[in-house]
C-alpha cells in the first residue's frame, strides 16, 4: 500500500502541490480531480518517483518501472511504433514477441511500422498505454488520458485498461470515464 502524507512540492517561490493525505491500496483505482494548476500532474510525478517533494513523508512507493506514468502528451522515441514497444519490453526483460499482442489490444496493429512521432493524439495515447502496460507495472499513472478524444477512442482506452489488474491513479478534470473507487480533489 502506498501512503503519502503532508506533501508539499515547491518550485522556487511557487507552491505546486499541497496534499494532506493519500492512500492507495492494491487494485484500487483513484481519480484525482481539480482545476488547472492544482498540482495533478505534479502529484503523478511524485508517485512515479520522478520528483522528490520539498516536504512530507512517503511509503510503499514501488521503483520506477513498477510504477509507470503516461503523460498527457506521451513521448515516443525516434523510430516506429513497433520499435518503441520493443524498447519497453526489453527494459522489462520481456519477450519482444509480445509486441504484436499489445499492438492489437491498442487497436494499433496497422500502425506498427509508422514512425511513432507522427501519430495522432488518440493513437499516441492508446499506444502509450499499451507501452506502459507492457512492462507489467504494479501501479499505472495516467495524466488526463481522455482529454480531447472522441467516444470511439475513449472506448478503446477503457477496454485496454480493463484488463489491468494493478492499482491506477488517473488525473482528470471530470470523473466520469472510469469506475473510481476513490476520488481525491485538489484545491485550486
Amino acid at each position: 500500500m502506498i501512503r503519502l502524507s503532508n506533501i508539499q512540492v515547491r518550485f522556487g517561490q511557487v507552491m505546486a502541490l499541497t496534499l494532506d493525505e493519500l492512500e492507495l491500496r492494491e487494485h484500487e483505482i483513484l481519480g484525482v480531480a481539480g482545476p488547472n494548476g492544482s498540482g495533478k500532474s505534479t502529484l503523478l510525478r511524485v508517485l512515479a518517483g520522478l520528483l522528490v517533494p520539498t516536504a512530507g513523508e512517503m511509503s510503499g512507493l514501488p521503483a520506477p518501472g513498477r510504477v509507470v506514468l503516461v503523460h498527457q502528451e506521451p513521448y515516443f522515441f525516434n523510430g516506429t511504433v513497433r520499435e518503441n514497444l520493443a524498447y519497453a519490453l526489453r527494459l522489462a526483460h520481456r519477450d519482444i514477441n509480445e509486441t504484436a499482442g499489445w499492438l492489437e489490444r491498442a487497436c494499433a496493429s496497422h500502425l506498427a511500422d509508422r514512425p511513432a512521432q507522427v501519430l495522432s493524439v488518440g493513437e499516441q495515447r492508446r499506444v502509450a498505454i499499451a507501452r506502459a502496460l507492457a512492462v507489467h507495472p504494479q501501479v499505472l499513472l495516467l495524466d488526463e488520458p481522455f482529454a480531447g478524444l472522441d467516444g470511439e477512442h475513449r472506448k478503446i482506452i477503457r477496454d485496454e485498461l480493463a484488463i489491468f489488474g494493478g492499482s491506477m491513479v488517473v488525473a482528470a478534470p471530470e470523473h466520469d470515464h472510469l469506475d473510481y473507487q476513490k476520488v481525491l480533489t485538489l484545491p485550486g
Binding site: L50, L51, A63, R90, L91
Partner: protein, 299 residues
C-alpha cells in the same frame, strides 16, 4: 528534477543500437593504433635520439635540413630539431628537455654555461645582420658602415622602425646597438615592437615601409616578396656569431651526451665547416665557417 527510489535495472536496453556503436568504436580504436604506431615509429631500439633546440631564423634558413640527413644516416642518430625563440631554446636547455642548444646570443650563451646549464660551448659559424629599409631611404642611412649611428639617425628623423621585441638573438643585438648609440628607443614615435618572428617582422616592415634589423639569411628568403633594401652592412658590430652548447649531463643525467658530442664534433670539424660554407640560398652563401676551430674532443 529527477531523484528517488533505486531503479536497479542492469541489463542494457537497445542492443541493436549498441552493435552499430561498437563498429564505430572499433574503427576509432584502429585509427588510434595507427596513430600510436606513427608515434613510436623512429624512436626505435637501435637508433639513438638527439634533441637540438635552435632559433627559428637558424632553422628557417634550411641549413640543418640540408646538413643533418647525411649525419643521421652515417651515425645512426635521429636528430629532432625544435625551432623556437632564443629565450625558449635556452630555457629548454636549462630544463633538460633537449640535449644541445644552438643560438646566436654570445652573452646569453656565456651566462648559460656560467650558471652550469651547459658545457663545452663552441663557436660554430657566423653571418651578419643588416639594416633594411625602404628603397627611397627617408632617413638617409644608405651606405653607412656605422650601425649604431644609423639607428640613431633613423629615430631622429622620426622614421618607423620595427623591432623583434621578443628577446631573440636579433633583438638582443638590436638593443646592444641602441645602447652603443646612447639612445633608449622605447616610447619613441615610430618604434614598433612586434613581438614576433623574423618573417612576420619583415612583412610588417614591408607593409609600413619601415626600417628594421634582420639577419641576412631570412632577408634573402623573403627578398622577392618585399620592397626593402639592404642599406647598412659590414659594421663589425653586425657580425652574428652562432654557438653550439651541450646541455650539462651532470645536471641532467639523461642527456644524450654521446650523440650530442658526435654532432658537435662533426659540425665543428673541417668537413662540417665546409658543408656549412657550401650551403647557399638563391645562389648566395648564408653562413661563414669559424676560423681556427678546435679539434673536436667531445665529452
Amino acid at each position: 528534477m529527477i531523484e528517488g527510489i533505486q531503479a536497479g535495472k542492469k541489463i542494457s536496453a537497445g542492443r541493436q543500437e549498441h552493435a552499430q556503436a561498437r563498429c564505430w568504436v572499433l574503427l576509432i580504436i584502429f585509427l588510434m593504433m595507427i596513430g600510436a604506431g606513427a608515434c613510436r615509429s623512429g624512436s626505435g631500439q637501435t637508433v639513438q635520439r638527439l634533441r637540438l633546440a635552435t632559433t627559428t631564423s637558424t632553422y628557417n634558413s634550411g641549413l640543418l635540413d640540408s646538413l643533418l640527413p647525411d649525419f643521421e644516416k652515417r651515425e645512426n642518430i635521429q636528430v629532432q630539431v625544435l625551432s623556437v625563440g632564443t629565450g625558449q631554446a635556452l630555457a629548454l636547455g636549462e630544463g633538460g628537455e633537449v640535449d644541445l642548444v644552438l643560438v646566436h646570443a654570445r652573452e646569453r650563451e656565456d651566462e648559460f654555461v656560467a650558471r652550469g646549464f651547459g658545457v663545452d660551448r663552441r663557436d660554430l659559424m657566423w653571418n651578419d645582420f643588416v639594416i633594411l629599409g625602404p628603397p627611397d631611404d627617408p632617413a638617409g642611412v644608405d651606405g653607412s658602415v656605422d650601425a649604431a649611428a644609423a639607428l640613431a639617425r633613423i629615430l631622429e628623423q622620426g622614421s618607423a622602425f620595427v623591432s623583434r621585441g621578443d628577446d631573440s638573438g636579433t633583438h638582443i643585438r638590436e638593443l646592444q646597438l641602441w645602447k652603443a648609440a646612447g639612445i633608449d628607443p622605447h616610447g619613441a614615435p615610430g618604434y614598433l615592437e612586434a613581438g614576433q618572428g623574423m618573417g612576420n617582422c619583415l612583412t610588417i616592415a614591408d607593409e609600413k615601409q619601415a626600417y628594421l634589423l634582420a639577419d641576412r639569411g631570412t632577408f634573402l628568403a623573403f627578398a622577392e616578396h618585399i620592397d626593402l633594401k639592404v642599406l647598412v652592412a659590414g659594421d663589425p658590430r653586425l657580425k652574428n656569431s652562432y654557438g653550439i652548447i651541450m646541455v650539462n649531463p651532470e645536471r641532467h643525467p639523461h642527456v644524450a651526451s654521446d650523440p650530442a658530442g658526435r654532432l658537435m664534433d662533426y659540425l665543428t670539424s673541417a668537413a662540417g665547416q665546409r658543408q656549412i660554407a657550401a650551403f647557399t640560398v638563391n645562389g648566395e652563401q648564408l653562413f661563414y665557417p669559424v676560423a681556427g676551430t678546435p679539434a673536436g674532443d667531445g665529452l
